[in-house]
Structures are given as structure tokens and as C-alpha cells.
Amino acid sequence: MGEIWGSVQAAFSLLFHPDRYLLSTILVSFKVSGVALLLCFPVSAVLAAAIALGRFPGRGVLKLLIRTAMGLPSVVVGLLVLLLLSEAGPFKGLLWTPRAMVISQLVLITPLVLGVMISALEGVSRRVAEAAHVLGANRVQIAWTVVREARVGFLTAGVAGFGRAIAEVGSVLIVGGNIAWADGTSYTRTLTTAIVVESRKGNFEMALAFGIVLLVLVLCVNLILGFLERPGEAR
């Protein structure tokens, strides 16, 4: 018990006096997850509007596939991306780079973001689209009006996607390779993969410090969500 308490104290002192290793690892985590979300969000928004508001054959099957993919195990995604990026695959040369990690996170979070956005759009009353129509809106203006009604749901989708990306360990470990240079600067090491490595080395203070940063991040994400989902506002 005393040892654990000592580790917690050491972790907090690390947090208040962060070294290059800790800072660069946090930065890599943010960069990779942030870029993945930035790439995923606009594409998902357009696709979600088309799927939720459009009427075309195979729409139900497509929604089922998206919902299934929302629960994709991250190691499976990592494995698939590894095969695609390996020397034998079509996109060689990207493996063990932050770009590879962005690609795997993109594959991982897009179904989640898309699924939450579709639910948000379908949660908007059909009367809203009708109201827009009878006030003279054309199809694009109606779609935009419904998307605006679902704006909180869209933000929730973004926050949830970022949360999943930053807390994910399996795929970034497989395609990123968990690389940190000799001077301690992280190249493809993220908060989660660093926890794996540090705890294996018995370096519990560092592992705990990373864990605390992650927890604080998840707390911030939930605070943002709670703020956005004030009662009475649009979902």
C-alpha cells in the first residue's frame, strides 16, 4: 500500500514538473487523435445526412453494417491496417509512423461518429423538415436545417470519437510500433501505449502519471458532454 501511495505522489510530482518524454507523449496522443477526428468529422457529417435523410435501396443494411462496425475491436483494425500498410500491401512505407496511427484510428472511430450522427439526425422530428418545407426551403436547405437541429448530437459524436481514439491502445500499438527516441522524445508512443511499456518495465510512477493524464482527459470530455447536453436544448 505504501508503495502505491509513493507511486501516486511521484506521479503527481511528475505532472507538475513534466519532462520531455511526458510532454511529447501527450502531444503525439493529441496530434494523432485530433487529426483522425478532423478528417473523420466532415466526411461523416455529409454521409450521415445522406444516410439519415435520403431514401435509397440498401439503406437499412448500410445502417446495420455501421452499427456493427461501431464495436470493432481495435486490435482487429490494427491488424487489417498493418496488412494494408505492410511491404506486401498497397500502401507500403507508412508503417510505424504517426500517419499509420491516424489511418487506423480513422477506421476505428468513423463508424462510431457516423452512427451517433445518424441517430441524432433520426431523433429530429420529421415535423421539423416539414416545417422547413412549408416555409419554402429546398432540399439542401431542409437537410441543413435538420443538421442544425441535431447539432448537439453531432458534437457528442465528435467528443465520443475523440474519446475513443485517445483511449485506444490496440491498433496504435500494432501500426505505430510504440517508438520513442533515445533522448526520450516520443515518435509514435501515445499515452496508452506508454502505460503498457512503463508498467512492463516496472516504472509505475511514470505509468500512473500517464494514467492520471488520461483520466483527466476523459473527465474533461465528460464535462464538455454534460455542458452540451443541457436539458431542453436540441439533441
Partner: protein, 254 residues
């Protein structure tokens, strides 16, 4: 031609359930036409066909806003409707009422109105933009002057329905459709909405309203069309030239 809307032989069904079975209806310029009938008679579906929200499975809807046939796109810009549910957008009252105006406004007019609102919120005394003036006038007409800054979700049902009415009125439409505008509303909102309809009649506007309350139809309308099981079964009021309906039978109106 006095006809402003000509609907011929309208058929519509949801799946196998046929809701409208051959409705012929002519709406005349400047009249208040009430469509009455029990729930499920097809009133809302008829309104959806007349406002082009749904396409008839058979039959046609034509507008003659300027004497000759008006293209659908133009007709849609010159009509407006209030649905049975207010269906307000989750934002403030101003943005709700200004919705149709923003759709029709130029980029400059939109920017001016938005900028003026931001500056007013910051406490800068500034002349109202043309869009704001029209919104304020529409809100005054429904007795909600000063409500522009309120959030839509914080309104009572009656206030929300009046905002929905203002949202349509502000467009000064050639034809205004009101689908059960006072269903389950408080007496104050009902009397305000009925007052607005009377004012519209005074101004020579065309209004098509549906109601399940025959007394209200008699109070407000120049002509009453009774819909039952997807067909027009009776027309009461002025002459029924050109209507494929049976002769008047006031007895049904007890």
C-alpha cells in the same frame, strides 16, 4: 380566373391504407376556406399535397397566383403553412420567425440582420434591420411582442403555436394554410389566432384552414368543405360552381 388553387382528382395512400380517394377542390382568391372532418378524414394529407410536401399518387395540384399557372417552385415561395404541431426550431424565437425571410434574403440582408442582433445584444442602441422590423411586426400581430429573444423550448404550447403562426405570417404569403391551428390550445391563444385569421380576411388574403370544430369553421370561414373517408362529401357556404360535390346540406351542421 378567380381560382387560386385547383386540385383535381387527388389520390394518396400510406402503404395500403388509402387516405384520399379523388378529391377535387378549388380555392378562390381572398376566401377563408375551412376543411372540416373527423380525425383520420385526410385533412392533414390534403394539406401536405396542396403544399407540395407530398406528391399525389394520382391527380394534380395547380396554382394560379397571378391569373396564369404558377410554376411549383414559385408557388412554394409564395405560400406558407402552420402545422398542427408548432415544430419550432430549437433556437430563439427571432431565428424561428426570421427563418423564411432568411431563406429568401440576399447574403447582405442576412449579414446585416445578424450583425444588428449581435450588436443589440452587446447593448449598442441600433436601428432595427428590415428583417427585424418584419419579425417584430409579425410577433406583434400574434400578441408576442418582445418575445424575440426567448428560447423556443421555454414557450408554452399556445405561445409556440403563435410563434409558428408568426413564422408563416411574416412571409406575407399569397395563401396561408393552417392545419388545426387551435387544436388543444388555451382560450387566449385560440382567440388571438382566430383574430389573426379575421384580420387576414379583412386584408383580402386567402386562407385554407382545417379544423375538427364545426363551430369554429362557421365562425371564421366563407366556405366550408367537409371531408370524410378521403372524399369531399359536402360544401357549405357560397356557390359551389365547379365543385364535384353534392349540394349543400346544412342539416349536417346541426
Amino acid at each position: 380566373m378567380r381560382e387560386i388553387i385547383a386540385a383535381r382528382d387527388l389520390h394518396f395512400g400510406y402503404g395500403r391504407r388509402e387516405v384520399l380517394r379523388g378529391v377535387d377542390l378549388a380555392v378562390r382568391r381572398g376566401e377563408i376556406l375551412a376543411v372540416v372532418g373527423p380525425n383520420g378524414a385526410g385533412k392533414t394529407t390534403l394539406f401536405r399535397l396542396l403544399t407540395f410536401y407530398l406528391r399525389p399518387q394520382r391527380g394534380t395540384v395547380e396554382y394560379f397566383l397571378d391569373g396564369h399557372r404558377t410554376p411549383v417552385r414559385e408557388a412554394r415561395r409564395r405560400i406558407a403553412a402552420v402545422l398542427q404541431e408548432p415544430a419550432l426550431f430549437s433556437t430563439d424565437v427571432f431565428t424561428n420567425v426570421a427563418y423564411g425571410l432568411f431563406l429568401r434574403a440576399s447574403c447582405g440582408e442576412r449579414t446585416r440582420a445578424r450583425l444588428a442582433r449581435v450588436l443589440q445584444r452587446l447593448g449598442l442602441p441600433l436601428a432595427l434591420s428590415p428583417i427585424e422590423e418584419r419579425v417584430e411586426a409579425a410577433l406583434r400581430a400574434v400578441g408576442l411582442s418582445g418575445f424575440a429573444g426567448r428560447r423556443a423550448y421555454a414557450l408554452s404550447r399556445g405561445e409556440a403555436q403563435r410563434v409558428a403562426l408568426a413564422r408563416a405570417l411574416v412571409l406575407e404569403p399569397d395563401v396561408l394554410f393552417l392545419d388545426e391551428p387551435t387544436a388543444s390550445l388555451d382560450p387566449e391563444s385560440t382567440s388571438v389566432i382566430e383574430g389573426v385569421i379575421r384580420d387576414l380576411r379583412g386584408a383580402g388574403r386567402t386562407v385554407v384552414l382545417s379544423t375538427h370544430d364545426p363551430a369554429q369553421a362557421r365562425r371564421l370561414a366563407d366556405r366550408i368543405v367537409r371531408l370524410a373517408e378521403g372524399r369531399i362529401v359536402e360544401v357549405v357556404g357560397l356557390t359551389t360552381n365547379g365543385e364535384s360535390a353534392p349540394p349543400q346540406s346544412a342539416a349536417l351542421w346541426g
